[in-house]
C-alpha cells in the first residue's frame, strides 16, 4: 500500500511542521484573520500584530486567511478557530453579512470577536476598528498640501469618479475643514479622473493649463496621484507644483524621490494589526469592555473612542515622506 505510505509521510511532515507551536496552553490566543494570504498589506498588519503580542507578553498570534478572498473560505477558517478554542478573533472580512452567523457562533462559545479594516455588521462582532474616518482623511489631504504652503496658495483636487462614495465623502470633509483650519488655502476646483490612468493624466494636464498659479494637486486616489505626479515630472514643474494625496508607497516612491511630491498619506497596516491585537487582548482578558462611548487604549498608537455602533477610527492617515518611504515601499 504505497499510497498510504506516501500519504502518511506527506501528512506527517505537514503535521510536524505546523503542529509544534500550536500547544502553548496558557497564552492568550488571538487569531488575525485576513481577506487573503499573500497580500503585502496584510503581511504588514501581521508584523504589527506580532509587535503588539511581544509587547503585551503571553500572547500568541495566529495569522491566517483563505487563499482566495471569499467569505466561504473565511467561514471555514472561523469554524476551525472555534474548534481550537482561541480566545479572540480579529477579522478583516470579505463580506460584512455572510460572516455574521459564523462569528455569532464564535461569540456564543465565549470567543471575543472584533473586525478591523473591512468590517462586519454590528451583530457579528463586539467592535470594529476603522483605519481612519472621513473627517480625519478630509483634513489630512488638505494638511498635506497646506504644510508646504505657509503663506497659503491655490490647490486643486483630482478625484476618482464623480459617483465614488468614499472620495466624495472625503472631499466634503475637506471642504468643511478648509475655512476653519486652513483659511489661507484656496481650493480652485475638483476634477474627476475616474481612477483611469489616461483620463487622470488628461485631467491633470488640464488643471495645470487652466490654473497657472496652482501650487498643489491633491489626489485622494492611488491612481490619480500617480498620474498627476507623472504629469508634473514630465512638464518639469517639480518644485513649483506639489502633488499629494492618498498613495501606495510602493507605487509612489519614485515621485517622493524625484521631488514631485513632498509627502503623501495612507493607512498604516502595521499600526492597524498592532491595534487590532491590542484591542482583542483587552477585550478577551476583560480589561476593557466594548460599549458605545467607551475609550479604549491602543498602546503606542494612542486611544480610540467607540461610536453608537461600537465602531472606532484608529488615527489620521499615516504620512510618507523622504524619511520613511524607502521602508514602507517594501511593505505595500
Amino acid at each position: 500500500m504505497s499510497v498510504l505510505k506516501k500519504l502518511f509521510a506527506a501528512a506527517a511532515i505537514t503535521a510536524a511542521i505546523f503542529a509544534a507551536p500550536a500547544y502553548a496552553q496558557d497564552n492568550v490566543k488571538i487569531a488575525l484573520v485576513v481577506k487573503s494570504l499573500g497580500n503585502g498589506f496584510f503581511d504588514a498588519a501581521n508584523k504589527g500584530a506580532q509587535e503588539a503580542a511581544s509587547e503585551i507578553g503571553g500572547v500568541e498570534v495566529i495569522y491566517t486567511g483563505p487563499t482566495s478572498a471569499t467569505a466561504e473560505g473565511q467561514i471555514e477558517i472561523v469554524n476551525s478557530l472555534i474548534a481550537q478554542q482561541v480566545d479572540a478573533i480579529a477579522i478583516s472580512a470579505n463580506d460584512p453579512d455572510a460572516l455574521v452567523p459564523a462569528l455569532k457562533r464564535a461569540m456564543d462559545r465565549g470567543i471575543t470577536v472584533i473586525s478591523w479594516d473591512s468590517g462586519v455588521a454590528p451583530e457579528g462582532r463586539q467592535l470594529h476598528l476603522n483605519p481612519s474616518d472621513t473627517d480625519l482623511i478630509g483634513e489630512t489631504i488638505i494638511k498635506l498640501a497646506a504644510d508646504r504652503l505657509p503663506d497659503g496658495g491655490d490647490v486643486a483636487i483630482l478625484s476618482a469618479s464623480s459617483t465614488a462614495t468614499n472620495q466624495n465623502a472625503w472631499i466634503e470633509a475637506a471642504k468643511k475643514a478648509l475655512p476653519e483650519k486652513f483659511p489661507k488655502i484656496n481650493l480652485v476646483t475638483v476634477v474627476y479622473g475616474d481612477d483611469d490612468s489616461v483620463k487622470s493624466t488628461n485631467e491633470a494636464r488640464g488643471l495645470i493649463a487652466s490654473h497657472p498659479d496652482l501650487d498643489a494637486i491633491i489626489a485622494p486616489t492611488t491612481v490619480g496621484v500617480v498620474a498627476a505626479a507623472q504629469v508634473v515630472t514630465d512638464q518639469n514643474l517639480i518644485g513649483k507644483i506639489n502633488v499629494t494625496g492618498l498613495a501606495l508607497p510602493s507605487e509612489f516612491k519614485q515621485f517622493i524621490d524625484n521631488g514631485a511630491s513632498q509627502a503623501v498619506a495612507l493607512w498604516n497596516p502595521i499600526d492597524l494589526g498592532y491595534s487590532a491585537v491590542y484591542l482583542s487582548h483587552a477585550l478577551a482578558t476583560e480589561k476593557a469592555k466594548a460599549e458605545p462611548g467607551a475609550k479604549l487604549s491602543i498602546g503606542r498608537v494612542g486611544e480610540v473612542t467607540l461610536d453608537d455602533t461600537n465602531a472606532a477610527a484608529m488615527a489620521a492617515p499615516f504620512q510618507f515622506d523622504k524619511s520613511n518611504i524607502e521602508e514602507f515601499s517594501k511593505i505595500y
Binding site: 499510497v3 503535521a15 486567511g65 482566495s68 471569499t70 467569505a71 466561504e72 474548534a83 455574521v100
Partner: protein
C-alpha cells in the same frame, strides 16, 4: 455465426473475480483506508480534533459541495459534465434574495431555490440534448450567463433579511451535534446510491457512458436520460444554494465562487472515470468526507490556505496516479 457457436468458443465466467478479493482491492477500500489514516493523523496532530462539536463543524466543509457531487457523479458517468453548478447556486440564491424582499416566507423560498436550480439544469440539458452541443462548452457558457445575471441584479449590493426560520437549513441541528445538513446528505447519498446501483435507470446511465451508440440501439432513450441528469444536477445545485444561503444568512453574487472545481475534484477522487462509464456513489461520499477531513484538519493546524490547496492537489494526483502505475507495473511483471 450462431450464439451457440460463440458459447463453445469462449468461456464466460459467472463472476469476473472472487467477490471478497475484489472488495478488498476496490477503490472504495483504498478511500476508506485513506480516510481512516487522515482521521488518525488529525487526532494525533491536534488536541482539538476528537471532539463532537469539531467533528460536527467539519461536515459543513463538504456537505453542500458533496450534495452536488452526488448528481455530478451520475452526469460524469453518463459522459457529460456541468461546470455551471456554482453559478446556479449564485443565481438561485439571488432569486431567493429577491423573493425575500417581496415578502416570501421560508417554504416559498425553498421552492424558489429548488425551482431556479431545476430550471437552470433543464436549460443546460436542453442545449446539450436538443442542439447536440458538447456539455463542456454549453456549461462554460451558462457558468458566465447564470452568474452574470446574478451580478446584474445585485451589483455590489447584498440581499439580507432572510426569515429566522430559514436559518434552520444551514445552521440548525436535528439532535445535539447532528446538523440538518448532514442528515440531508446521508438521505440523499442513500437515494442516489439506490438510483445508480439498484434501478434500471442507473444501469442505463452506465450504458450511456460506456457506449452511447450501443445504448441507443439497445433501446435506451439516451437524450432523455441525459436531460434528466442535467435537471437532477441543477436541482441539487438548488438544494446546495438553499443550504449555503441559509448558512451565510445573506446573498452576494460572488457566493460559492470556485465550487464547481471542488465538486468535480470530489467526483474524480471518488473513483468516477472522467471519461464516463464507471464509478460509484460510495466512492463519491468517501471522497467528500476525505476532502472535509483534510481541509478541517489542516485548518486546525492553521496551515495556510495555499498549502491546503497544494495538499489537495497532491492527494488527487497521488490517489489517481498510483493505481494506474501499480497496474502497469503488474502488467509488465506479468508479461
Amino acid at each position: 455465426m450462431s450464439t451457440t457457436e460463440l458459447a463453445h468458443n469462449r468461456h464466460i465466467p459467472d463472476r469476473l473475480d472472487n467477490p471478497l478479493r475484489s472488495a478488498l482491492f476496490s477503490w472504495e477500500t483504498l478511500l476508506i483506508l485513506v480516510a481512516v489514516a487522515i482521521f488518525a493523523l488529525n487526532s494525533l496532530a491536534s488536541p482539538y480534533f476528537l471532539n463532537a462539536w469539531s467533528l460536527s463543524d467539519l461536515t459543513f466543509n463538504f456537505v453542500e459541495k458533496g450534495l452536488i457531487a452526488l448528481a455530478m457523479a451520475l452526469l460524469i458517468i453518463a459522459g457529460e459534465i456541468d461546470l455551471s453548478v456554482a453559478a446556479i447556486i449564485a443565481l438561485s440564491s439571488t432569486i431567493m434574495g429577491m423573493a425575500v424582499q417581496a415578502g416570501v416566507d421560508t417554504p416559498g423560498l425553498v421552492l424558489i431555490g429548488l425551482g431556479v436550480g431545476l430550471a437552470c439544469g433543464a436549460f443546460n440539458g436542453l442545449l446539450v440534448t436538443k442542439l447536440g452541443l458538447p456539455s463542456i462548452v454549453v456549461t462554460i457558457g451558462t457558468m458566465s450567463l447564470f452568474r452574470g445575471i446574478a451580478y446584474i441584479i445585485l451589483g455590489d449590493q447584498a440581499y439580507r433579511g432572510y426569515p429566522a426560520s430559514f436559518a434552520f437549513f444551514g445552521q440548525g441541528y436535528v439532535w445535539w451535534v447532528i446538523s440538518f445538513e448532514i442528515v440531508l446528505f446521508v438521505i440523499m447519498a442513500l437515494l442516489f446510491w439506490f438510483l445508480l446501483h439498484r434501478t434500471s435507470f442507473g444501469r442505463m446511465v452506465f450504458a450511456i457512458g460506456n457506449n452511447p451508440v450501443a445504448a441507443t440501439f439497445s433501446g435506451v432513450r439516451v437524450e432523455r436520460i441525459k436531460f434528466i441528469l442535467f435537471c437532477l444536477t441543477g436541482l441539487m445545485a438548488g438544494v446546495a444554494s438553499v443550504l449555503l444561503t441559509s448558512r451565510l444568512g445573506s446573498t452576494r453574487p460572488s457566493i460559492a465562487q470556485g465550487y464547481e472545481l471542488e465538486v468535480i475534484t470530489m467526483v474524480v477522487l471518488g473513483g468516477v472515470s472522467i471519461l464516463g462509464g464507471s464509478g460509484s456513489i460510495a466512492g463519491v461520499v468517501l471522497a467528500a468526507i476525505i476532502m472535509g477531513l483534510v481541509t478541517f484538519g489542516l485548518g486546525l493546524l492553521n496551515v495556510p490556505g495555499i498549502v491546503m490547496s497544494i495538499f489537495i492537489g497532491l492527494l488527487l494526483i497521488t490517489v489517481i496516479a498510483l493505481p494506474i502505475l501499480w497496474r502497469r507495473l503488474r502488467e509488465r511483471q506479468g508479461a
